[in-house]
């Protein structure tokens, strides 16, 4: 019998930093390897969590074939190396990251998503199920953004965290309108706690973080969506979730991201395979009829 995989995902600061600088130096090598770029180069792995408290979420993602679906969605990218996408436990830290050549998502992070799902559909119409799917897809797609920026050596001015969010948001918007709506609003639920109060108090130091503030990421996601589909997301502006002042520029923001995607990503995507992925109705397949049965 095979040994159960109980390896924990680890990410010490030192490792991240050195890996990040190495990855930069290696950029040219990665693009050199692009002659070998191929589709379907994503491997997946569910690590077995040693912590019994995480068994529920582990069983859930496995049962719902989360990684298999992510693998399929991203299969059209022609990658120069094999990329592994894995879930594992992280000593209590809710996190997710990319270090070449792997994307790691902690069960702690996925569990946090599960714990904070809305009991009832929200005023924006986000169901429990759509929040779960949207938030989960968002975190994997964000890290996939980092992975593609690195592996394709994408030249990037501007904040790469914001760029990874844009990558994820743009992809969600390429599925059909209904799916795009459900995915975006579900993903935006990630930040619901951060947009409740009219004033935010924070230590000044918080603004030195390279990630945008959660509220900024929330507005960026809604703006991108509204810019892409002003009809589908009209209520987002009408009900004031996205201020009008910002909304006026959203079409231009979306056009810029679409231009960026076309120029920097499309050359690395197998169009035929991408069409198959986008034509498939993912949500009807993924949505569970009764989430309570899946609850750990």
């Amino acid at each position: 019998m095979a040994q159960p995989k109980t390896l924990k995902l680890r990410r010490s600061i030192g490792v991240v930093l050195s890996a990040a600088s190495i990855s930069f130096v290696m950029m040219s090598q990665a693009s050199a390897a692009e002659t070998n770029a191929k589709t379907n180069r994503i491997k997946i792995e569910y690590f077995d969590p040693p912590n019994p408290a995480l068994r529920g979420v582990y069983e859930l993602v496995k049962k719902r074939r989360t990684l298999e679906r992510i693998q399929q969605v991203f299969s059209p990218f022609r990658l120069p190396v094999e990329l592994t996408i894995k879930t594992g436990s992280c000593d209590g830290v809710a996190n997710a990251w990319y270090i070449r050549p792997a994307i790691s998502v902690c069960y702690e992070y996925l569990n946090q998503i599960l714990q904070s799902l809305p009991a009832e559909p929200t005023p924006e119409g986000v169901t429990r199920e759509d929040a779960l799917i949207g938030e989960t897809f968002y975190v994997f797609a964000h890290e996939m953004g980092h992975a593609t920026f690195d592996l394709f050596a994408v030249p990037m001015l501007g904040d790469r965290e914001n760029a990874a969010d844009h990558f994820a948001g743009y992809l969600m918007l390429q599925f059909g309108k209904d799916e795009a709506r459900a995915l975006i609003m579900g993903a935006a639920y990630t930040y619901h706690k951060y947009v409740q109060n009219p004033e935010v108090m924070a230590p000044l130091k918080a603004f030195s973080d390279i990630h945008g503030a959660p509220a900024q990421r929330y507005y960026n996601l809604l703006c991108l969506a509204y810019g892409a589909e002003p009809t589908v997301f009209a209520d987002v502006v009408a009900k004031g979730y996205l201020p009008k002042e910002r909304a006026t520029g959203c079409k231009r923001e979306y056009d810029q991201v679409a231009h960026g995607f076309r120029e920097l990503m499309t050359p690395h995507v197998d169009q035929q395979l991408a069409k198959q992925v986008l034509d498939k109705s993912w949500l009807s397949e993924v949505r569970a009829p009764d989430l309570s049965r899946d609850q750990p």
Partner: protein, 302 residues
């Protein structure tokens, strides 16, 4: 827009004590009414030396002094020269203009507009004859803030006119473009320009706790404090020796650790996306030029 009024007020009401004091996103935070890819550009051959400029006469007599200063200082001639190497498909105009009380700066194809209101605000922010605790002289505060905003708007213009692809926020992109350019305008100049530019945000990093209205997070610009740290991080990443004081005084170590990589990423992007659009000989001339007046320039008293 909601930021601009309290901001102007704070400038007027504040005695500038130093870089440690902070502040105002100024017009910089509202700039960016640029257009991307709305109309197509002519496909004719791109060429350098396509910057035109105009000092529009101000209607408001209060702006006469700013008008005179920028003109006498040949500010727009310098900008023209700085961007002469860029091979553009069409002419790009930069102008100083009165904006009916609005303190702003923006790009809209193919014009960069700088309001006298905004330039006056920069002017007023530099108290005569006083050097701040962080070593920012009045002349550096004026020139640094001026180049920072001009280069930011030109960043928007270059990304638009050269159709440069980008995934990130256009405002972050323009800030990075501006910072990278300043860092390459001569080593001694770089430190003075960056310190002067950072002075734009003096009022926003004054206290250790920030109260920010939620709506401010919906602005497509980063918050002033974020832009302050981003600016310093790129500068520190470029030259940890010249900008060592930045970490000692302002930039938290958690962020500082990664700044070299951030700078390397900007360099890689600039080299890949921008440099192919530059005329090599003209670029060399630009890089060898000194951009700042000497420190001992006459005080800024009007």
């Amino acid at each position: 827009m909601f930021l601009s009024r309290p901001c102007l007020f704070s400038i007027a009401a504040t005695t500038i004590a130093g870089l440690a004091a902070f502040g105002c996103p100024g017009a910089l935070a509202q700039s960016g009414a640029h257009r991307v890819g709305v109309e197509s550009l002519p496909s004719e051959e791109r060429r350098p030396n396509r910057i035109r400029f105009e000092y529009v006469s101000p209607q408001n007599p209060r702006h006469d002094h700013v008008h005179r200063h920028v003109k006498e200082g040949a500010a727009l001639e310098k900008v023209q020269q700085l961007f002469s190497p860029f091979r553009l498909p069409i002419d790009l105009t930069v102008k100083t203009v009165g904006c009916d009380g609005r303190s702003n700066a923006w790009y809209q194809r193919a014009v960069v507009s700088l309001c006298y209101e905004y330039l006056d605000q920069i002017w007023q922010s530099a108290t005569p004859e006083e050097t701040t605790a962080a070593g920012v002289t009045p002349i550096d505060a004026v020139v640094g803030q001026f180049f920072y905003v001009v280069l930011h708007e030109f960043g928007h213009a270059m990304f638009d006119l050269l159709r440069i692809p980008s995934f990130g926020s256009a405002e972050d992109v323009a800030d990075q473009f501006s910072t990278y350019m300043m860092l390459h305008m001569g080593k001694d100049d770089a430190r003075r320009l960056i310190s002067g530019a950072a002075y734009s945000y003096r009022n926003s990093v004054r206290s250790s706790t920030a109260f920010v209205p939620l709506k401010a997070f919906s602005d497509m610009h980063g918050l002033p404090a974020q832009r302050f740290y981003n600016l310093l991080c790129i500068a520190y990443g470029a030259d940890p020796t010249a900008f060592a004081y930045v970490v000692a005084k302002y930039l938290p170590e958690d962020r500082a650790r990664d700044c070299k990589r951030e700078y390397d990423e900007v360099t890689f992007a600039f080299t890949t996306l921008i440099v192919p659009h530059l005329d090599e000989d003209l670029t060399k001339q630009i890089l060898n030029k000194e951009w700042l007046p000497p420190q001992s320039a006459e005080p800024l008293v009007d």
